[in-house]
């Protein structure tokens, strides 16, 4: 039975799916052709011609996939599952690009796109390396293309296509209707947390980093394969530096996004997804250092090869961790499984196997050095540094892989309960050693160093570092903790040693500038990360919590959230903090929170600023998504987010006819009063002042037998005193009264009777129930010296960039 569906646009999806299949076929053809070109005894370029054409078809197909997907999302074609699941009509155009990486398919596309852009450079620049290197790259392209296929082969579904239709992806009765599309109102929308400018640039940077890790890997494989054992090292070096630079920048952007847009209150949480991207970065950093050691001294060949190879395998492992759903219970932000568990495993398996087989086959040809490194040589300490980095990596890998271990061995081990403490306990000493080595190895030369001059330089730098770190430790307030002080010392030591090198560089040895800057940046990064993580202070501590039993006080639990009522200042640390109201901007509600510092002696306001932490309220889901706002100073940040706010009601209760005006007032209270009496109500006092007889009432002509009496009441509230005159009328034997309402007090006063027999008056008071006082629950943290972390990263990135330039120049002149 074929239903003809109304309003569907099928051609962009069909075209897109065509490109998907084309990109897979072209990648496969390019892989094979490059392979045959490589193994041919006398290459005549015929295979190369096919390979290159196939490569270009692959590139065009990938661009075609991206264009079709963009078209679908841009035009809100919700008949496609991807558009429906990841976008909505209200989404601004510049975030459409973010929809690409909210889903797995889009992020695979991003990866394959970058990989083919890198391939473009290789096709034109790699010269004799092109066939073997591109064979490896295109093999990886083939795997990535297969992730997007979404077709069934022999009953197994391969990949997941971004062009699948909503009615095929989701089972629901409405899809039986030909006009179902007219009933699909809007897409699910982009996760609000991704609607942040950092999320527009963080994933592309990260994926460019991941994608570029394949190039040094491919060179290493090509080197072994083509028996150009030592040649590949110099060519791969700039690529390895590029990968490390981009991946590092990508990781830190993610960290900055987490700090600026997420409310977990920090910049690094050792979440498995974060670790997964950090692990290959560290191994390739180690790799870069031993590549240099080998290049300059002929030592550590195997370590260099191993680290280069393993880094890419770890990239694949990282994507397996985040995409297969295996992290399940241990990570907050991994993707859900799309049924590609085995496909991802095959991807890793194939690359691991190729690398392993080549290493074994070429083992006996590898240029192992017979001679041991000198202790006082740079290559030895480059090697030791790489080993320490490798061990640091092993630790992160071991704990992150607990869920994998469980899956393989059927165990049920849970990750450490104090995850951050567990990692820090290990990573702090590793960082300390690495920083120290990165400092003193600057004074060592390749092969052999003059010991005396080495110790003189070392001693001088250590002395300066000891003095500086004493001062810095005192200022930062970490001097009571010996481990922190040691790390401070070794970080500053590294900065001092490398600053010396940088000084030389400025004086003329420009080629040294890259490494010196990168190491200085690394030193600052460590200082910033340690101080900010160790001394950040929650200032919204609320120890006045009451009422829920005493057992709480015993536990020493930090009570890190505080409630702020509108316009009621609360003192936090040195700040007087006031919640001043909220405003709505798009989907966000911005809460205006004022911070003031008042000098206790002069009572002058020395600092005064507003922060606007915001929350997206989703009325339907009855949830809020809070994003922080941060006041940046040079030496510290004040970070604030709302952790709870009153939920807005879905529909405001509309006033409509048929309701009496008094309905929203509470029950009337009847007082019997005499002149001069005072009645106390919630926010005011009412004094019965006087009676005025014979008052004239508009539109109500009265004759002589009628009575009209006004009661003069003085209402005293905190704000002001006002006089009102409710009126009591008897006309033609009927009783009326005209009450008075005081809006700002929520009061209505009615003069309802006169009892001449005991000379008393009846006053009826109605009062609105107290309005809900506006409140927010807030968390505020001071992060000291965090700019060292960001600044250090920027320096490091610039350093890597200079190093790439230097190594490229060496290639040309060599």
């Amino acid at each position: 039975m074929d239903t003809v569906f109304i309003g569907e646009h099928l051609w962009p999806g069909k075209l897109g799916q065509f490109f998907v299949v084309l990109s897979f076929a072209a990648a496969l053809l390019a892989t094979l052709s490059y392979y045959f070109e490589t193994i041919k005894d006398k290459p005549d370029g015929s295979w190369l011609k096919i390979a290159r054409s196939a490569y270009f078809v692959n590139l065009l197909a990938i661009i075609g996939i991206g264009t079709c997907l963009f078209y679908i999302i841009y035009n809100h074609l919700f008949e496609y599952h991807y558009a429906w699941a990841h976008s909505s009509k209200a989404l601004p155009v510049y975030y459409i690009i973010s929809c690409f990486w909210e889903g797995q398919e889009g992020s695979f596309w991003l990866w394959t796109f970058w990989q083919s852009v890198l391939g473009f450079v290789l096709v034109f620049r790699a010269k004799t390396w092109e066939p073997p290197v591109m064979a490896v790259v295109m093999l990886s392209q083939t795997f990535l293309a297969s992730m997007l296929l979404g077709v069934e082969i022999l009953g197994i579904r391969v990949g997941s296509s971004p062009f699948i239709l909503l009615r095929d992806a989701v089972q629901a009765p409405i899809f039986a209707r030909p006009d179902y599309l007219s009933m699909v109102a809007d897409g699910n929308g982009l996760n609000p947390l991704l609607q942040n400018y950092w999320m527009v640039i963080h994933p592309p940077t990260l994926f460019l980093g991941f994608a570029s890790m394949i190039v040094p890997f491919a060179y290493a494989l090509a080197g072994l394969w083509q028996k150009r054992y030592t040649e590949w090292i110099s060519v791969a070096l700039p690529w390895a530096l590029f990968a490390v630079m981009v991946l590092g920048a990508g990781i830190i952007m993610g960290s900055f996004w987490a700090y600026e847009a997420l409310n977990f209150g920090g910049f690094w949480a050792w979440d498995p997804v974060e670790n997964a991207s950090l692990i290959p970065w560290i191994t390739l950093i180690a790799g870069v250092h031993v590549l240099l050691a080998y290049k300059h001294s002929g030592q550590a060949y195997f370590t260099a090869t191993f680290l280069t190879l393993v880094s890419f395998v770890l990239v694949l492992y990282a994507s397996f961790l985040t995409r297969s759903g295996i992290l399940g219970e241990t990570s907050v932000h991994s993707f859900t499984d799309l049924g590609m568990f085995w496909q991802l495993l095959v991807y890793i398996g194939v690359f691991k196997l190729i690398a392993f087989i080549l290493v074994i086959k070429r083992w006996k040809y590898m240029p192992f050095s017979v001679k041991e490194e000198e202790t006082y040589s740079r290559e030895f300490w480059l090697f030791v540094g790489a080993v320490v980095l490798g061990l640091a990596c092993l630790q992160v890998l071991a704990t992150t892989s607990i869920p994998v271990f469980n899956k393989v061995f059927g165990t049920e081990i849970a990750p450490p309960t104090q995850v951050i403490a567990h990692y820090n306990k290990w990573q702090l000493p590793f960082a300390l050693v690495v920083a120290f080595i990165s400092g003193f190895s600057q004074f060592l030369k390749y092969k052999k160093t003059d010991i005396r001059s080495f110790y003189v330089q070392l001693g001088r730098a250590a002395l300066i570092a000891a003095l500086l770190s004493g001062v810095a430790g005192y200022i930062a307030g970490i001097y009571t903790n010996p481990m922190f002080m040691l790390l401070m010392f070794s970080s500053i030591f590294s900065v001092v040693c490398n600053a010396g090198i940088l000084y030389d560089a400025v004086l003329g040895k420009w080629k040294l500038a890259g490494s010196a800057l990168a190491h200085i940046g690394f030193g600052f990064l460590l200082i910033g990360a340690m101080v900010a993580a160790a001394t950040n202070k929650v200032i919204s501590v609320n120890n006045s919590g009451i009422g829920f039993g005493q057992e709480f006080a015993k536990d020493n639990n930090p009570r890190e959230n505080i409630i702020l009522y509108l316009n009621e200042p609360i003192k936090m640390d040195k700040y007087t903090v006031t919640y001043l109201g909220d405003s709505v901007s798009g989907p966000n509600t911005l809460y205006r929170v004022n911070y003031k510092v008042i000098d206790p002696k002069t009572a002058k306001v020395t600092e005064n600023f507003d922060l606007y932490p915001n929350a997206q309220q989703n009325v339907k889901m009855r949830q809020i998504i809070a994003s922080p706002d941060t006041r940046h100073y040079l030496w510290k940040d004040i970070y604030t987010h709302v952790s709870s706010v009153p939920l807005k009601e879905e529909a405001t209760h509309e006033a409509h006819e048929g309701h009496s005006e008094e309905e929203d007032f509470g029950k009337p209270t009847i007082y019997t009063v005499k002149l001069g009496d005072t009645i106390a109500v919630r926010d005011a006092k009412i004094v019965v002042k006087a009676i005025k007889k014979g008052v004239h009432i508009n539109n109500m002509p009265l004759n002589s037998s009628d009575v009209s009496v006004a009661l003069s009441l003085e209402v005293l509230s905190k704000a002001k005193t006002q006089v009102v005159d409710p009126v009591f009328v008897i006309k033609d034997g009927n009783v009326y009264d005209f009450g008075k309402t005081i809006e700002d007090l929520g009061l209505k006063l009615r003069f309802t009777n006169i009892k001449p027999q005991n000379n008393s008056l009846e006053l009826t008071v109605l009062q609105r129930p107290p309005a809900e006082k506006k409140w927010i629950v807030l968390k505020a943290i001071v992060f000291p010296y965090i700019n060292f972390l960001w600044g250090g990263t920027i320096l490091m990135t610039i350093g890597f960039f200079l190093a790439i330039l230097r190594r490229r120049k060496e290639l040309k002149t060599a």
């Binding site: 429906w84 699941a85 990841h86 909210e102 889903g103 909503l166 989701v170 629901a172 409405i174 006009d179 007219s182 009933m183 699909v184 109102a185 809007d186 399940g328 219970e329 907050v332 859900t336 041991e372 490194e373 030895f380 080993v387 061990l391 092993l394 630790q395 071991a398 704990t399 607990i402 049920e412 081990i413 849970a414 990750p415 450490p416 309960t417 567990h422 290990w426 609320n542 919590g545 009451i546 829920f548 057992e551 536990d555 639990n557 930090p558 009570r559 890190e560 959230n561 505080i562 409630i563 889901m621 009855r622 949830q623 998504i625 809070a626 952790s643 709870s644 409140w775 629950v777 968390k779």
Partner: protein, 133 residues
């Protein structure tokens, strides 16, 4: 002894240390009954009981949140968390709690929710004003 040998011993020693530490610091998954017998913190996986009271009243105490969870063995327990109610809490399908028993209450130091990814929610929201033709 050669330097490389010393280095190798060092590497192996640290690597063993890392593995032991990973194992020593690791925790276990258990039930509320296991938690009663254990002084250390552990992980309990369970489901939120929406029928029971969930208390978060910031006006009284902005750092007290309590709710009920049924663990995978079916035991139900009151959970107390020092902090605010996490966003999106009611919609969580599965909850991983880290903490320990204090009397009859389980005091959680960490709550991890597994939400049905909104993208996998296999429901299509239908326009309410759609014409019935």
């Amino acid at each position: 002894m050669k330097k490389s040998a010393i280095l190798l011993i060092g590497i192996i020693a640290v690597a063993i240390g890392v593995i032991i530490s990973t194992y020593a610091d690791s925790s276990t998954y258990g039930s509320f009954n296991d938690a009663k017998d254990s002084a250390a913190e552990l992980h309990v996986v369970g489901r939120l009981d929406l029928a029971k009271d969930m208390v978060y009243n910031p006006k009284k105490d902005a750092n007290y949140f309590s709710f009920y969870v049924k663990d995978n063995k079916g035991t139900e327990c009151k959970i107390v968390f020092t902090g605010t109610k996490p966003q999106d809490f009611e919609r969580s399908e599965q909850i991983v709690l880290t903490g320990k028993m204090v009397g009859e209450e389980f005091h959680a130091s960490k709550i991890l929710m597994k939400c049905p990814s909104k993208y996998n929610k296999d429901q299509v929201e239908v326009k309410s004003t759609a014409q019935q033709s």
